[in-house]
């Protein structure tokens, strides 16, 4: 099935979705969902958990869209929801002390997530190319960061968001976000010093 593309700008899409226009809501989702999934994937390092965050975030948006009053950008509003969900999941994970996805085998380090990805048609070859040891070390460092440090680092480094926007999304100041990022990079430098 092919569908004729309809062009509306973002505020128009939001208003149409608030009126119950399903197509508009779907278009609104598609403006952001790749980045939402990427953020969740990088924070939680699990396709299944990233999918859970994706579903929960957009369902919450759908249910609560009528409360959105354009007081902030939709991007900020959406990311507040996504980062809160991710932070909750990371905190729970810390409590549960989940088993690491990386295991050491006779053939070196094996990331069980690679197996998950490879079974899909679109496994990302880029991940498969990384040096095993460096990847394990980076994973360890990221796991050692606090959930907030991790969220700020992911949003700044991989999503390219400005610290001011990150502060808005996490309900904190730009300065606090800057301190988080500073601490995160210091830990990275200390842990990756021998590798890079």
């Amino acid at each position: 099935m092919a569908q004729a593309a309809v062009k509306m700008d973002e505020p128009e899409l939001i208003r149409a979705a608030q009126r119950g226009d399903q197509r508009a809501f779907e278009q609104l989702v598609r403006l952001y969902d790749q980045n939402v999934l990427r953020l969740a994937m990088n924070l939680l390092r699990s396709p299944e958990d990233a999918n859970d965050i994706y579903q929960e975030a957009f369902l919450r948006v759908y249910k609560n869209l009528h409360t959105f009053r354009f007081d902030c950008s939709f991007h900020t509003w959406l990311y507040r929801i996504v980062t809160n969900l991710c932070l909750d999941a990371l905190r729970k994970r810390r409590v549960r002390r989940e088993e690491d996805t990386v295991v050491e085998t006779s053939e070196g380090f094996l990331d069980r997530m690679d197996t998950v990805e490879e079974s899909r048609a679109d496994g990302d070859p880029q991940r498969q190319l990384m040096s095993g040891q460096l990847r394990v070390r980076i994973r360890e460092v990221l796991d050692g960061l606090t959930p907030r440090e991790r969220a700020v680092f992911e949003m700044r480094h991989y999503q390219g968001l400005r610290l001011r926007a990150i502060g808005d999304m996490l309900g904190t100041s730009e300065e606090a976000a800057k301190n988080c990022l500073f601490r995160a990079t210091q830990k990275m430098r200390a842990a990756l010093g021998d590798f890079v």
């Binding site: 598609r30 790749q34 994937m41």
Partner: protein, 307 residues
């Protein structure tokens, strides 16, 4: 600025998050200090290795997420505005109307206010309002142009777009044309991935092949480029395709794309690939890709480097 202070600010400098003054002071210090310049180099190297640790969700995962969301939305109703929300909305100016009963209630309230207001206002009330003849704009309308035309009137140009649902097989020309357009939609990478995914099953069409070549070369999203490469795998011996793939191999910034391109190019042991692979060996940073090139060159009995 002291070296300790300079080194602490290097990450924020690379992220472009220093104030103008701090950046200026750091740059002056870097000009004068070899040690801090070396530290900056190490910091850049660390950033680069962190870049390569990013996980990019596969197009299949994205498609699964979208399909699941669509299924779940079908069973969920958006929360309704509560009483106070409705009251607040009543005092808010919107350029659309509330749905269902609220619309009828609102219309009645407006009629009553207008009726009693008109009867209670003195006949000589200045600035009496004439009917504007405003019609509710359709959901997909957009005001393109406004202009005062004299006599207190305004002329407004409205773009209106209507939605249509089309269905048909991929070899249907009108469907294919829409898919070709969607495959280049700059605002929606997901739409491009899905369109290219459908088109890649029709690479025998010259138009589709040309769209796939364009996507491989120009699409900003690595997922779309990988999908397009998938569609070109049966044309790896076509001269035009090989020429495009060679350019992609030398320029693409995604190691995953470069790896797939090498796989396609070395399927056929063409001698003209030797200088290309040697050039890749000279500039490629990625160890895995270097290893693939090295192996391909050895298979072709060519030297690994140019001398």
């Amino acid at each position: 600025m002291k070296c300790d202070d300079a080194r602490k600010t290097l990450p924020l400098f690379l992220y472009g998050e220093l104030s103008f003054e701090d950046e200026e002071r750091l740059e002056i210090h870097l000009d004068e200090c070899d040690g801090c310049r070396a530290a900056l180099g190490r910091e850049k190297a660390m950033f680069k290795s962190l870049d390569s640790a990013e996980m990019i969700p596969s197009a299949a995962l994205l498609a699964d997420c979208r399909a699941e969301l669509r299924r779940r939305l079908a069973n969920v109703e958006p929360d309704r505005a509560n009483f106070w929300d409705k009251i607040r909305q009543g005092f808010t100016i919107h350029f659309h109307f509330a749905p269902g009963l609220a619309q009828v209630g609102g219309a009645l309230a407006m009629l009553l206010i207008g009726f009693y207001g008109a009867h209670m206002a003195p006949a000589s009330f200045p600035g009496s309002v004439r009917q504007a003849g405003l019609v509710e704009p359709p959901a997909t309308s957009r005001v393109r142009y406004v202009e005062p035309v004299g006599g207190g009137k305004v002329q407004i140009v409205v773009d209106e777009t209507t939605q249509r649902v089309l269905s048909g097989t991929i070899d249907d020309q009108s469907i294919q044309r829409l898919l070709l357009t969607a495959a280049k939609d700059p605002s929606d990478a997901g739409l491009r991935v899905e369109s290219v995914n459908l088109l890649k099953n029709q690479p025998q069409s010259a138009e589709v092949r040309s769209a796939l070549l364009y996507a491989v070369q120009h699409d900003s999203n690595a997922g779309v480029r990988l999908k397009a490469l998938d569609g070109l795998k049966d044309f790896a011996d076509d001269p035009e395709t090989r020429q495009t793939l060679t350019q992609v191999l030398l320029k693409d910034d995604c190691p995953g794309v470069r790896t797939q391109v090498i796989d396609l190019l070395i399927q056929h042991h063409a001698d003209n690939m030797v200088p290309v692979l040697q050039e890749v060996m000279g500039k490629e940073q990625n160890g895995y890709i270097r290893m693939r090139c090295q192996r391909a060159l050895r298979d072709m009995n060519a030297s690994v480097e140019t001398y």
